[in-house]
């Protein structure tokens, strides 16, 4: 067990034992569920209820504050619902991929609807994975393996 390496582990987007995931979903129940699933897979979780809040957390809000850059280097994965009022998950994905500071962060899109054109659109825009809701523990395990452990 490494002593005192939590801070070290969190810096520079490094893949660690406790990756930091930003989960975005307008549905309260889904936020609670995804949070629990991720925490059960040893992830640190921050939730946001919409795209704007997510972007603010990541430092891309209307007011660019340099102190928020700390949040950016700490987020190892963004998982977002597709259907959200205001900014959709797809629009959020685009904003992230257009940002020089954020584009390397893998983005996973979730949706309750299995629509091939939707899935392709997201994958083409750079989404790492598309997952069908409701999420189960096995989905998150797969996610963790594909995106985090395997890349470190």
């Amino acid at each position: 067990m490494d002593g005192g390496s939590m801070e070290d582990a969190m810096v520079g987007g490094g893949y660690t034992d406790e990756p930091h995931v930003l989960a975005v979903d307008d549905n309260l129940i889904d936020r609670k569920l995804v949070e629990r699933l991720l925490k059960n897979s040893s992830c640190k979780v921050t939730t946001a209820e919409n795209g704007l809040r997510a972007l603010e957390y990541l430092g891309l809000g209307d007011e660019k504050r340099t102190s928020l850059e700390d949040n950016v280097s700490k987020v190892n994965l963004i998982i977002t619902d597709y259907c959200m009022p205001g900014m959709t998950g797809y629009e959020l994905l685009k904003k992230i991929k257009e940002s020089s500071s954020l584009k390397e962060i893998p983005v996973v899109i979730m949706s309750s609807e299995n629509i091939p054109t939707r899935i392709n659109k997201c994958l083409e825009e750079g989404a790492q994975m598309f997952m069908l809701k409701p999420l189960k523990q096995s989905d998150v395990a797969k996610l963790r393996c594909n995106l985090m452990n395997c890349r470190s």
Binding site: L28, I29, D30, K32, L33, L37, C83, P134, K136
Partner: protein
């Protein structure tokens, strides 16, 4: 009732809820997420579901009472309700929402009103069943027992 009896009652009751289609496999996923470090997870999520659902039902009732029904709004609410009922494993409610969305698309007022009645009925039914289930779980835990989740897979 002693703990063993309560545990058996819990198993039977849970099985019946799955058998009768009130709950589906997703509810089991929620139960699996509950452990010593999160002993109230299911009760918490279920409680959020109740609050959320009652708000959605009130909004749906309001929108459908208007002279000119905004079907986009109806669909948005039903979509939310379908999402949360699906995430919690409330199968009948979820299926009612699927039918509801079809009537929304067709802008079928009669169909929508019937669906609203149906979804309300099924929601209140699953609500009372979930409340009973959680009460039973709390009694088991209060009596020093644990909830025999593993019995469900047998």
């Amino acid at each position: 009732m002693e703990v063993g009896q309560m545990q058996r009652a819990w198993v039977e009751y849970t099985r019946s809820l799955f058998r009768e289609g009130f709950l589906d496999a997703q509810f089991q996923q929620l139960q699996l997420l509950q452990d010593e470090s999160n002993p109230d997870f299911v009760a918490e999520v279920v409680s959020l579901f109740f609050e959320d659902s009652e708000r959605l039902l009130a909004d749906l009732t309001f929108v459908l009472e208007q002279q000119n029904i905004d079907f986009k709004k109806v669909d948005a609410h039903v979509h939310q309700f379908k999402g949360s009922s699906s995430s919690i494993g409330a199968q009948r409610v979820k299926n009612d929402c699927i039918a509801f969305r079809n009537f929304c698309e067709e802008q079928n007022i009669e169909g929508c009103l019937r669906c609203l009645q149906q979804v309300k009925q099924d929601y209140y039914l699953v609500k009372s069943k979930l409340e009973a289930l959680i009460r039973l779980e709390q009694q088991i835990v209060a009596a020093g027992g644990s909830i025999p989740m593993e019995e469900l897979s047998s």
